[in-house]
């Protein structure tokens, strides 16, 4: 009874808050001062046609580093938790060998259609992911998006070939190296240019070219690799856990 009352009260509070928000909503017709500054000076200062990227990677680069760190911590947490349960299950495996044999057919092979489609699409999906983070400063998308697309490629792979093996060592090495290089590029910004994660440590080059906008493509390659491999590692860990008896 008290629980239900509490829920109703919470709902009422939420309703009041959201009604207020909706009632006072007014569409902004002009940019705020900060937004105006970004729109005005971003292209000249950083040389990136995609203003979103310019803001995310340089002006707000520290936030992006924070996001990458959050993702890293969650991936590490998944790894830690699932590893612990697997060890326990290994012990159970020894005791309950019969049961494991009974449920051995958990990994049904994927259908012909899924397998063939994955063989055709996987290279293209990965290539598209790389395209997205390499062109982050020119077109919509960037490191996070590209990395997520690469992880979708891994998802395809795991769907089509459930028994395929992904090297944990390779994932760990690439992930740590790219994370480390990301921070190194950021620190180089302090030493050579205006501040942490300043992209002007490399010559900005021609506006709109593939290799332009200073260090933005470089940073996005690192972020993309890191995010892609981290999410792949999370997927792989969830999958590997499945091999135990259910």
């Amino acid at each position: 009874m008290i629980k239900r009352l509490f829920i109703l009260m919470m709902l009422a509070v939420m309703a009041v808050i959201f009604l207020n928000l909706a009632g006072n909503y007014r569409e902004n017709t002009e940019l705020s001062r900060l937004g105006h500054y970004y729109a005005e000076n971003g292209p000249q200062e950083l040389g990136a046609p995609n203003l979103v990227t310019a803001v995310v990677v340089t002006y707000r680069g520290l936030d992006t580093l924070g996001e990458v760190t959050v993702l890293f911590i969650s991936a590490a947490g998944v790894g830690l938790l699932l590893r612990r349960t697997r060890r326990k299950q290994d012990d159970e495996d020894l005791e309950q060998g019969d049961r494991a044999e009974e449920t051995a057919g958990v990994h049904k092979p994927a259908s012909e259609i899924v397998e063939t489609a994955t063989e055709l699409l996987l290279p293209m999906v990965i290539l598209f992911g790389i395209y997205v983070f390499l062109n982050g400063h020119l077109s919509p998308g960037g490191g996070f998006q590209g990395g997520a697309i690469i992880a979708s490629g891994t998802m395809f792979l795991l769907l089509a070939l459930p028994e395929s093996h992904i090297s944990r060592l390779m994932i760990a090495v690439i992930e740590s190296l790219s994370g480390f290089s990301y921070v190194v590029v950021g620190v180089l910004g302090v030493l050579l240019a205006g501040g942490f994660l300043d992209n002007r440590i490399i010559d900005p080059g021609t506006y709109g070219a593939l290799f332009s906008a200073g260090a933005i493509p470089l940073i996005y390659v690192f972020v993309g690799l890191k995010v892609g491999f981290e999410l792949s590692a999370v997927l792989d860990r969830f999958r590997k856990e499945d091999t135990g008896p259910l």
Binding site: P140, G141, A148, I149, A151, S152, L159, F238, D242, L246
Partner: protein, 83 residues
């Protein structure tokens, strides 16, 4: 009074989000609930494209409707029978 097509489309897509979100909460079958949650993300990503935020849309489409659904499916398979 004529309503712009974009507004109509946005309203339609937003009701799609609402409906699939409600389905995700109310459905008893866990598998269908997860699929509806993914569907809500898919609708949301299309709304982002319509509202001119392609960067966000990409993330939403691949993480929200792809990877999250997949991880939920793995989790359901792992905890099957305990609902």
């Amino acid at each position: 009074m004529t309503v712009p097509v974009i507004t109509l489309l946005t309203i339609l897509l937003c009701s799609g989000i609402l409906i699939s979100g409600l389905l995700a909460v109310t459905l008893n079958n866990l598998l269908s609930a997860v699929i509806s949650a993914g569907l809500a993300s898919l609708f949301a990503s299309v709304v982002y494209v319509v509202l001119a935020a392609p960067d966000v849309a990409m993330t939403e489409a691949s993480i929200g409707s792809g990877l999250t659904t997949m991880i939920f499916l793995y989790a359901i398979r792992k905890t099957r029978g305990e609902d």
